[in-house]
Symmetry: none
Subunit: 377 residues, 2 copies
């Protein structure tokens, strides 16, 4: 293998991408970069030309060979008819879609009249958990899916060959395949995306009538909690409605927890901390949140993993942080995560290194011997 | 004024800081940096030594002069007796506290038996709206309060001299003084801090029992909404209990809004989008959140600075990150901040370097030339 050869890929081409927005164009770019022949289709000639010019593939023509795989990346409300049409048009191809709810697509295909319904074992839904603020092909990137989860949602109706083909696509694009049934997927996005959206919107809406002075006290915590509440109302209402049952179930459970917290606060308000068990209810609610938040994996899809931390004062001079990390390497300890905090006035930074728990003591001792100031506690 | 002179300050020293955790040590650091004599006190010798080593001040001794100002920065449940003790011990000093609820402190002082109660016109409560995840002096910074609101909560019992002294402290530390009564303060923090905390904790706690695969789908939205849910349970339970009535009132209002959203989702789930008015309820809930989030002021002043980001894949081997940072130094680019994210499955980390926007392109090109894999977008 010479350096000029593209990396080996598992995806068999040609691949047809229907819908050349952000996700479709990124799929096309990622595959083209890796040497796979990509055919593009979009009802908008402008979107199609932009994706072509970016190098995402070649616009479909009558002479095209039959695709081995079709990726439907249209807006969600036309996914079902588009998937059905592609299954019919390409009777040997595997077809997938990348819409953000999966039960609705499977139900939609199942509801097609039997004589008009294509053989749909060649279909398996998927959902790459990637996106960015900039939409459309202009935001596309061959690395959009790198290290992101990519759900492959087989509800038992897909052939092993179809699942394998979509899995190969995800892996070729650098994503981490996650196998879920459509129902499991929809429950999961209710918990990790839709319920947080509702909570953020409700917290934010309480600010609409608050006095100006109250808003002046807003800190980063409030900004973080409510950031997603700035989302588009029509888009979000349709996302929530598309996943209504799982979201409603999850919110009912949250209501029960909320009622316990409010009850405890009212008891404390009426009778002070003498209100038996009330403080415990509050501690338990926050502790349960700790447990939940600890399970959220890092930004690029790595599993949440417990590391030990070593915090070191780093003089605020060029090269000092590099010197620290080189010395950590010399000690033979691998850095799993790193935070740098920087205070211009103090002329010192604080580097917190996450390492395997078994390496904490070794590293602390070695760094102190080398003259670094380790901060404990 | 030469460069070596500290900036002019309005705060008359010595200032005594009781409790050298995050806030106390940061007050000490900020004042010491500005040339004010700071005396430190903490029941924990370890916490006291760390604050001293960071440069936050000098541990209290029998020879200390009488302080002009005492800042009580203890855990909230001992604020009242500590304030009372400091008022007695220093009969000419102004005393303030930095606890996050204010009505409770005033009520607690008022409830002291009259013969044992010190002259409390020298007391005025305050609340700097600053904090961070890491607690303790290790997280302290002279700039912690820069451009943050600092509530001065006079309920009509404080002398003008006391209010002025605490106002001077806030301004000297770079904060923005906000005058509120204790009751106004407590209603405001319920809305902007305590209700968001409860919401974040409840959303996060729903993740505690979720399947591993669901967590793998987490994105930045979930991380933002739940970040504050990592807060300390004992500390937060005592903060919520200390502000029980205002928080309970605000949460009852939120419950009503939540019930409407759940009702609409259940109607959609049962009858589809035909469910009259349901989609409109969802749109209205998200739109109300838009309106609320639009009222949240941005970060004040020049504290926040926009940097460009360069993201680089780093092989998961000891020394690789150090090598990267040394090479960034060789390119002549200064790293303003750094995040490392690690995906065990891929045996590769992703380092995101914050640099001046003008240096982004230079750095990306230089690193690619040196064989690093730069991630765009």
């Amino acid at each position: 293998v010479t350096e000029d050869q593209p990396p080996a890929v598992a995806t068999a081409g040609p691949v047809k991408v229907v819908g050349t927005g952000l996700l479709g164009a990124s799929v096309g770019l990622g595959l083209t970069t890796r040497g796979v022949h990509v055919i593009l289709e979009d009802i908008s000639p402008t979107a199609l030309a932009l994706a072509r010019d970016l190098g995402a593939g070649v616009p479909a023509s009558a002479e095209d060979p039959q695709p081995a795989l079709v990726v439907v990346a249209t807006p969600p409300d036309v996914v079902v008819p588009t998937v059905a049409a592609q299954l019919r048009a390409h009777p040997d191809a595997v077809v997938t879609d990348v819409a953000s709810v999966k039960g609705l697509v499977v139900d939609g295909l199942a509801a097609l009249p039997e004589d008009g319904r294509p053989r749909w074992e060649r279909y398996v839904g998927s959902h790459p958990m990637a996106g960015r603020e900039r939409s459309g092909a202009a935001g596309a990137s061959a690395d959009l899916f790198a290290a992101r989860p990519w759900v492959i949602a087989d509800g038992g109706t897909s052939s092993a060959e179809a699942v394998l083909a979509v899995r190969a696509l995800a892996v070729d694009l650098g994503a981490i395949p996650v196998a879920l049934t459509p129902a499991e997927h929809d429950d999961a996005v209710a918990l990790v995306s839709h319920v947080p959206q509702v909570a953020a919107s409700l917290v934010a809406s309480a600010l609409a009538e608050a006095p100006e002075e109250a808003l002046a006290l807003a800190g980063q915590g409030l900004r973080d909690v409510t950031r997603v509440a700035a989302g588009d109302p029509i888009l979000w209402a349709s996302i929530l409605a598309g996943n209504a049952a799982p979201v409603a179930r999850a919110l009912r459970a949250l209501q029960g927890d909320l009622e316990r917290v409010v009850g405890a606060l009212e008891a404390v308000s009426a009778r002070g901390l003498a209100a038996s068990g009330s403080l415990q209810v509050l501690v338990a609610a926050i502790a349960a949140g700790n447990a939940g938040v600890a399970r959220i994996p890092g930004k690029h899809g790595g599993a949440a993993r417990r590391y030990g931390e070593v915090t070191v004062l780093v003089p605020d001079r060029p090269g000092e942080l590099g010197r620290l990390l080189v010395e950590v390497g010399e000690v033979g300890v691998n850095i799993e995560d790193l935070r740098l905090e920087h205070s211009p006035r103090q002329k010192v930074g604080m580097a917190t290194l996450a390492v395997l728990p078994s390496a904490v003591k070794t590293l602390e001792d070695a760094l102190e011997q080398r003259g670094w100031r380790v901060v404990y506690g």
